[in-house]
């Protein structure tokens, strides 16, 4: 396949979050680059509305395509997310926050957590050395500072938003930049003799021709799988949750700047506070609980009255063998799905779009770009996969068969080595490319009782009293910095409240 210089017809199939993010991204960043972008969607086909909770990276995507942050937050009824609180994962009664930020500061190349491990008796929880955790627990927020000397520069933030509002918001943005939206249902896909997708046939008889197709059709993978038979790499043996039920309810209590993930008997339950409601869901393994029991369990645990009927979802964790196959790029659920535990779905969509834009060929063969794209996306998926498995595997729970299975399971070698290294030496095996860096691994290790047997002996070379005093000072400073922040709800009200007419 050679990508013609211009004009190039790009056809996006599916109008959910992935479809409209792709349309908005391509139309904004490749404006004037000779693309005719058409998005085909059918109002009759529902969207999943993937990812009510996000990662900080989404802010950069929005900035890059020219979206005003406060306008976006108001339109999507967004709140701030400083991290995820994990409840009952290591053991029932445990809780910790995986923050979007650092723990303390390293000293002479020795990681902060080694100092904390040595003096944890005097210092208390490591979470008190993370500004986003302290702020989250106080219900406070202020945007990070650009001043590297300030404690306020040690964290980032993301959004908790109404995902069903994001696609319509992006649609307005994309259509203003020339994207053509076609309402219609794809009933047939024509593949040419070279194996490339050439034409989509719609239910009403229309035919859509394209040079490059972006499959955002969801789990079904209308083009990437149904038409091209790309194949799927399943990871259910490591990540066995395969269903979810979602149900919004009324708020009860304070508007918290973090998402909560509570481990349950057969999976886990999310709680995501938005401006106008709380999003809830139970992600579970159908091996260990039936759909009705899961739904009842969710509904009975809600903090406020139900606002809509519970919505069931089914999925298979894994990814397509190739995310870019022939002239079709699968973005979003059509490309793969890693369960929503760490809010990675929208991140993977964003990375898929970003890499596609960076490698988008112009008048040359797409073969090399395709190979490189698949290599990088494969890395992204696998690194997230290992991190997710860690949450399930690092548990001491013995109260339910799911947890027994996860605790005892044989994890990928890549993860096995990482965990052994941390347990023995407190050493975090890091990488340069892919999601979740050292603070994230530390949060989950330490939060789920994977404690290093030993700290780095260089810690003992420092005068004990001086170090403890300095670290106590750091803790006090972090607390004071958080105390000075505005209340999260007040910050939202001041900067990006959803207009009353927008609330439902």
């Amino acid at each position: 396949m050679t990508i013609q210089p211009s004009p190039l017809n790009v056809v996006i199939v599916g109008g959910g979050t992935a479809g409209w993010m792709a349309a908005a991204g391509l139309s904004s960043l490749l404006e004037n680059a000779g693309l005719n972008i058409t998005l085909v969607e059918s109002a009759a086909i529902g969207t999943v509305g993937v990812g009510e909770a996000t990662l900080p990276h989404l802010r950069f995507f929005n900035q890059a395509i020219g979206i005003d942050e406060y306008d976006f937050m108001a339109a999507t009824r967004a709140t701030v997310k400083l991290g995820i609180e994990f409840v009952d994962w290591g053991k029932i009664g445990d809780r910790y926050i995986h923050p979007f930020g650092d723990y303390g500061i390293p000293n002479d190349g020795v990681g902060f957590h080694h100092f904390w491990r040595r003096f944890s008796g005097e210092l208390g929880s490591i979470s008190q050395f993370s500004l986003p955790v302290v702020a989250a627990e106080l219900g406070k927020f202020e945007p990070p500072s650009d001043d590297e000397r300030s404690a306020l520069s040690t964290f980032r933030f993301a959004y908790q938003f109404d995902a069903t509002q994001y696609a319509p918001y992006l649609r307005r943005h994309a259509e203003a930049r020339g994207v053509t939206r076609l309402e219609g249902r794809v009933v047939d896909v024509v593949v040419d003799e070279e194996g490339d997708v050439r034409t989509l046939k719609l239910e009403d008889g229309r035919e859509i021709h394209g040079d490059l197709f972006i499959d955002c059709s969801g789990f079904i993978g209308l083009l990437i799988e149904k038409a091209l038979g790309t194949g799927y790499e399943e990871w259910t043996h490591w990540l066995p949750c395969d269903r979810a039920v979602a149900a919004p309810c009324e708020h009860a209590g304070e508007l918290l700047p973090y998402t909560r993930a509570t481990a349950r008997e057969a999976g886990w339950q999310w709680r995501i506070p938005l401006q106008h409601r709380t999003g809830n869901g139970y992600v579970y393994s159908s091996q260990f609980i039936d759909d009705q029991t899961a739904m009842d369990s969710l509904v009975n645990s809600l903090e406020g009255p139900l606002l809509a009927d519970p919505k069931p979802l089914r999925f298979v964790t894994g990814k397509r063998r190739k995310l870019w196959n022939k002239n079709c790029v699968a973005i979003g659920l059509s490309g793969g799905f890693l369960e929503p535990l760490e809010s990675t779905s929208i991140y993977l969509i964003q990375q898929g779009i970003t890499y596609l834009i960076e490698m988008f060929p112009h008048g040359v063969s797409a073969e090399v770009a395709r190979t490189e794209y698949n290599r990088i996306m494969d890395l992204e998926f696998k690194r997230i996969r290992d991190f997710l498995i860690l949450h399930y595997h690092a548990t001491e729970r013995t109260d339910a068969p799911l947890w027994d299975m996860m605790r005892e399971m044989d994890v990928p070698d890549s993860l096995k080595e990482k965990m052994a290294l941390f347990r023995a030496r407190g050493q975090v095996q890091t990488y340069d490319h892919g999601l979740f860096l050292e603070p994230s691994w530390l949060a989950v290790y330490l939060g789920q009782r994977v404690l290093p047997d030993h700290y780095d002996p260089r810690v003992d070379e420092y005068p004990q009293n001086e170090i403890v005093s300095r670290l106590q000072g750091m803790k006090t400073h972090i607390r004071a910095s958080a105390d000075q922040m505005m209340g999260h709800a007040d910050w939202i009200s001041l900067h990006c409240p959803t207009p009353l007419e927008g609330l439902s």
């Binding site: 060929p361 090399v368 340069d432």
Partner: protein, 315 residues
């Protein structure tokens, strides 16, 4: 190496003393004494070696400020055929489009004739060039301060920094003892520096984590080795691609087709060094990618001028 016996670092003066000082300063030695056994020098004392910016930072943190030894700031290091591999980036991106893509399109459509190298950004890189003799002498002075001595007693624990010692059974190897290095003092020092940093991270202080630490050290060294070997293959190949690893072949094809440096973990070189190395091997991208076409030719022309050589220092 959780022992009180001395650890002997065996290698050329440059390699061995740098290794010793870094270990003495940063490794959790648990009281172990370090001694250095010098082998034949690999560089003459009046040779000049380039220290990369990150090496200068390490030197400063061990108490050795190259500036005080008369080191001269440099913006690049040189390959065997006088290829200039810059520490600073080429030009500046515009609206999310890399400068290299802008330069490629300017070449194709605006007749730009200046080389990419001539658009290296101005400003201090932190890299410097220093005389080998002075550098080794300074390392020895610091070594004395941190308790490292010349070798005076037999030791069972050896860190090997010399590739030519086949009879030794080292506990571990660093620098040139880990990989086959071409005759470049800069690359050789880089290999020592990075492998010693990995060794410090993986220094085993207890018997029962030794295997695990060794595996992690090996994993990091393999990644480092792959990166340095690829760069050497590129710089010393004289246009032959027979010596290219499959990874380098892939990176070359990504560069030629997409105009991008394929990211890999533990890469020892910056994207601009790879770009310079590719261009010096006459590997030029066949297309600039589509993203650069989001800019108008007027924007490209203006931007190229704002990054033009008259604003930058010579490489």
């Amino acid at each position: 190496m959780a022992q009180q016996d001395p650890v002997t670092i065996v290698g050329s003066p440059l390699d061995a003393w740098l290794t010793a000082v870094m270990l003495a300063r940063f490794a959790p030695l648990a009281g172990a004494k370090l001694q250095v056994l010098e082998t034949s020098p690999v560089a003459r004392v009046d040779d000049v070696v380039v220290l990369r910016p990150e090496m200068v930072r390490t030197n400063v943190s061990i108490g050795l400020d190259p500036k005080r030894l008369g080191a001269q700031p440099v913006q690049a290091w040189a390959g065997p055929h006088r290829q200039s591999l810059p520490f600073n980036s080429f030009g500046r991106p515009l609206k999310g489009v890399s400068f290299v893509a802008i330069w490629l399109r300017a070449r194709e459509e605006l007749g730009e004739t200046r080389s990419l190298q001539s658009f290296v950004s101005a400003g201090q890189t932190g890299g410097c060039a220093i005389e080998v003799g002075r550098y080794v002498q300074a390392l020895k002075t610091i070594a004395t301060k941190v308790g490292v001595t010349p070798c005076t007693q037999a030791s069972e624990h050896i860190v090997q920094a010399d590739p030519n010692l086949t009879e030794a059974q080292p506990d571990c190897s660093v620098g040139a003892a880990v990989m086959t290095l071409r005759p470049s003092t800069t690359l050789r020092l880089q290999a020592v520096h990075k492998s010693v940093l990995a060794l410090i991270d993986c220094w085993s202080w207890r018997e029962n984590d030794r295997d695990l630490a060794a595996r992690e050290y090996d994993r990091r060294l393999q990644a480092m080795q792959a990166s340095i070997e690829d760069m050497q293959a590129l710089l010393w190949s004289d246009g032959r691609t027979d010596d290219y690893s499959s990874r380098l072949k892939h990176r070359v094809s990504v560069w030629q087709n997409v105009g991008r440096i394929a990211p890999v973990d533990d890469d020892q070189f910056t994207p601009q060094e790879w770009m310079a190395a590719f261009l010096s091997a006459e590997l030029v991208p066949s297309a600039a990618g589509r993203l650069v076409h989001s800019l108008t030719l007027a924007e490209i022309s203006d931007h190229v001028e704002t990054c033009s050589p008259k604003e930058v220092a010579n490489v």
